[in-house]
Structure formats: structure tokens, C-alpha cells
């Protein structure tokens, strides 16, 4: 079997398993929808207040929803021994980790990208702002998944992670949050957002090229 077929097999298996566990899959998304839709109810109903706060709230909710979904990322794989099998297989481990991360993004990141524009309506975001929100989330959430996977790999061997994972990856996720929320804000005010978009793209490429290698090394250490 060649590498691309291996990659597809990993993604497929992850999706198969995830669809058997609807509850785990839905709870981070529920969290995102609840936080994002409760803010407009608690804040002042003035359009300009909501419009100013909207990008930040939506982005923070997306970031926290991603964090919520990370804890279980490699834990069951390690507990049931399937990770050992992947480590010992003749295929490169970073590719397997990348496959699992891509599946994580398809299940957690992509729904956020789809849901956010719908929720943006409650914040009276202008059309440009909504478009920027979708674009920045599309570029930003894969980076969040990759960073989260590295953190999950590092903490996979720890018994009680508690807030450790969040503490570890949150600082690394901040640039994505800042560029994402700021670009959405700027676009809403009619400004150019090419700069932040390029930076988000650069962050994504950097994470994509380096983090699967780091995650694989961390998994090896966790299993030792």
C-alpha cells in the first residue's frame, strides 16, 4: 500500500469511530453554538456594540470549542493499543498523526467554519465581515487542530491532564486568535485584510510542515 492510501485509511477509520460516538462529537459544537448565541442575549442589543464584539466572541468560542475536543484525541488510541500498532507499522508515524489530525479538523474545525457565518447574523456583522470570518476560520482552525494534536500527543502519557493541555497549547494558539479576530473586525470596517490572511496562511503552512513530526516524536515518548 502506498502512503496516500495509508493516509486515507487512517482518516476513514477515525471518521468511522467518531460517527459511532455522536455525543463526544456534538458537545464541543454545542458549546460553540451556546456561547456564541448567548452573548447577544446578555449584551446590549445595540447594533454597534454587537458588531464590535462579535468577531472576538465568535473567535474565542471557536478556540475554546477546539480546546474542549482535544483531550480525547489520542487517549483512546493509546489505551486500546491501536497507537502501538501504528507506531510499529512500516508506515511513517507523522503521516498517521497527520491523518488523525485531518480527521479531527473535519469533525471539529469544519463544522465551526460552517456554523460561524450563521451565528454571525446575530451580531449584525456586515457581509464583508462574515466573509472574513469564514476565511479566517478556514485558515485558522486547521492550525488550531495541528497545535492541539501536538499538545495532546505530549500529554497523552499523563494520567490526569486537567488544565495541562490548555495551559500548554493556549499560548501557541494566541496568534491565530489575534489575527483571526482582528481581520474579521477590520473587514467589517471596510479595511483590507490581505496581511492577516497571509499571516494565517503562513502559520498554517508552518504548523503543517513541522507539527506532525513533533507530535510523532511526542507519541513515541508517551508510549515508552
Amino acid at each position: 500500500m502506498n502512503l496516500s492510501r495509508f493516509f486515507i485509511a487512517i482518516v476513514r477509520q477515525e471518521l468511522q469511530v467518531a460517527f459511532k460516538r455522536w455525543g463526544d462529537l456534538a458537545s464541543p459544537l454545542m458549546f460553540f453554538v451556546l456561547v456564541a448565541s448567548l452573548f447577544p442575549l446578555a449584551l446590549s442589543p445595540k447594533h454597534e456594540v454587537l458588531r464590535n464584539l462579535g468577531p472576538a466572541v465568535l473567535w474565542i468560542a471557536a478556540l475554546l470549542a477546539t480546546l474542549l475536543s482535544l483531550n480525547a484525541l489520542f487517549r483512546t488510541d493509546i489505551e486500546d493499543g491501536t497507537m502501538e500498532q501504528l507506531v510499529l507499522s512500516p508506515y511513517p508515524l507523522p503521516l498517521a498523526i497527520l491523518g488523525k489530525t485531518v480527521a479531527h479538523w473535519l469533525l471539529n474545525g469544519l463544522p465551526l467554519v460552517v456554523l460561524a457565518p450563521v451565528l454571525a447574523v446575530t451580531y449584525y456583522l456586515p457581509e464583508d465581515g462574515v466573509r472574513a470570518l469564514s476565511l479566517t476560520l478556514l485558515l485558522g482552525t486547521p492550525t488550531l487542530s495541528l497545535l492541539g494534536a501536538a499538545g495532546a500527543a505530549l500529554t497523552a502519557g499523563v494520567r490526569q491532564t486537567g488544565g495541562l493541555l490548555a495551559l500548554l497549547v493556549l499560548p501557541l494558539m494566541l496568534p491565530v486568535l489575534m489575527f483571526g479576530a482582528r481581520a474579521t473586525d477590520l473587514a467589517g470596517a471596510g479595511e483590507q485584510i490581505t496581511g492577516p490572511l497571509y499571516l494565517l496562511g503562513a502559520l498554517l503552512l508552518l504548523s503543517l510542515s513541522l507539527l506532525p513530526l513533533a507530535s510523532a516524536a511526542a507519541i513515541r515518548i508517551s508510549l515508552d
Binding site: 492510501r5 486500546d80 491501536t82 512500516p90
Partner: protein
């Protein structure tokens, strides 16, 4: 110590776990067509030694060579020759027996057409479409064994291969072990039970107090 061209060689392995020395300067060779039993009481480091041999755990000193080449340097080539039957079964609890095995077949680059026959031989046909979380301990073990049996690997690392199996299952495993070894394969099994193969080369390592 000669570097055997075809087989697994362990050279002066030492591993400590906390204050306990599990093994010190342990050297042995497993040649093609033979079985090595790792025996010892619970907690004597049988599983750990198997993990070291698979490359999952790094020993403090010493090295392991497969066909004369260090396994650390040739991880992929070694991985293609290795079937590891660990203390965990390596099955996804949410997937069915067939789905689990089909995934393993894909990893081995096989079509998976031998799965029904294998399930039949292991007496698993009735639970083929059951999620593995509903299986008994023995049935899970059998499913994990099916994965080893369909792998093209020459080296089998087996952790307690016959525990939790009934008499028929045990006999089937030993029969397959014999044919694997007769075909030039190697097997290393950690067990606290006695496995005897008729007419096949077999050696033993004892871990623990009586070492």
C-alpha cells in the same frame, strides 16, 4: 556474539524500572525457524522485554539487530517484518470485528479476502459484525490474534498468546505457531504458561528472581 544474518539478535540489554533491575546485560539470539519463550512470574518484566524487542521501549544499554541491522536505524524495514500481539489488543471498541480486521488488512496491503476463513477458524464468525466492545475477553484476544495470523510478518512478538483462550483456541494457536516456524518464521512469546512445540527449535529465557 556473532551477528547472525537472518534473525533477531539482542546484545547486552539492560533495563531498570525505578529501583528494580528487570534485566542486565541480557544477550540472546533467535534464529529463523525457532521459538523463544520468555518466562517468569508476574511483574518480572516479560512484557517490557517484548516492548524493548519491538522497539517501543528503549533499553538503557544494549542494542537489537534484525538481520544484522540495528532496528532503530531500519524502523520501517523492521516494521514490515514484525507482528506485535501486545498486552492491549489494539482493537477499536467502536468498530466491528470485521471492520477492525479490514483496517489491519489494509495496513498489510492485503485485500482482506482471507478474513472470513480466519474468523471461521478462530470461531468468531457469529460475532463478525459485532462491535468489539461487546466481545468477551477471549473473543477480543482471538480477534487480535487474527490480525497477527493474517500479517505477512516473519517475526511474531506475542504477549501471553494463549491466556484467556479455551482448549480449542489454544491448540489452534499452537498449530499456527508451528506452521509459522516451520515456514522459516520467528516467534518470541512472553508467557507464564508452558508452550511446547513438537519437533521445532525452541529456547527459553527466565526472568525474575531465579535469573
Amino acid at each position: 556474539m556473532t551477528n547472525q544474518a537472518d534473525g533477531l539478535t539482542a546484545i547486552e540489554l539492560t533495563l531498570w524500572r525505578g529501583p528494580n533491575c528487570l534485566f542486565e546485560e541480557l544477550s540472546f539470539e533467535v534464529a529463523a525457524g525457532s521459538l523463544l519463550l520468555i518466562r517468569g512470574p508476574n511483574g518480572s518484566g516479560k512484557t517490557t522485554l517484548l516492548r524493548v524487542l519491538s522497539g517501543l521501549t528503549r533499553p538503557e544499554t544494549g542494542r537489537i539487530a534484525w538481520c544484522g541491522e540495528s532496528i532503530e536505524k531500519n524502523r520501517q524495514a523492521f516494521g514490515a517484518q514484525l507482528a506485535y500481539f501486545g498486552h492491549t489488543n489494539g482493537l477499536k471498541a467502536d468498530l466491528t470485528v470485521t471492520q477492525n480486521l479490514a483496517f489491519a488488512a489494509q495496513l498489510y496491503g492485503q485485500s482482506g479476502e482471507q478474513i472470513p476463513a480466519l474468523l471461521d477458524a478462530l470461531n468468531l464468525t457469529l460475532c463478525a459484525d459485532l462491535e468489539t466492545r461487546y466481545l468477551s475477553a477471549g473473543q477480543k484476544r482471538r480477534t487480535a490474534l487474527a490480525r497477527v495470523l493474517m500479517s505477512p510478518a516473519r517475526l511474531w512478538l506475542l504477549d501471553e498468546p494463549v491466556t484467556n483462550l479455551d482448549k480449542a483456541g489454544r491448540e489452534y494457536v499452537i498449530e499456527r505457531l508451528c506452521s509459522h516456524i516451520a515456514g522459516g518464521g520467528l516467534a518470541i512469546a512472553a508467557t507464564h504458561e508452558d508452550i511446547r512445540l513438537e519437533n521445532h527449535r525452541q529456547s527459553e529465557i527466565l526472568l525474575g528472581d531465579d535469573l
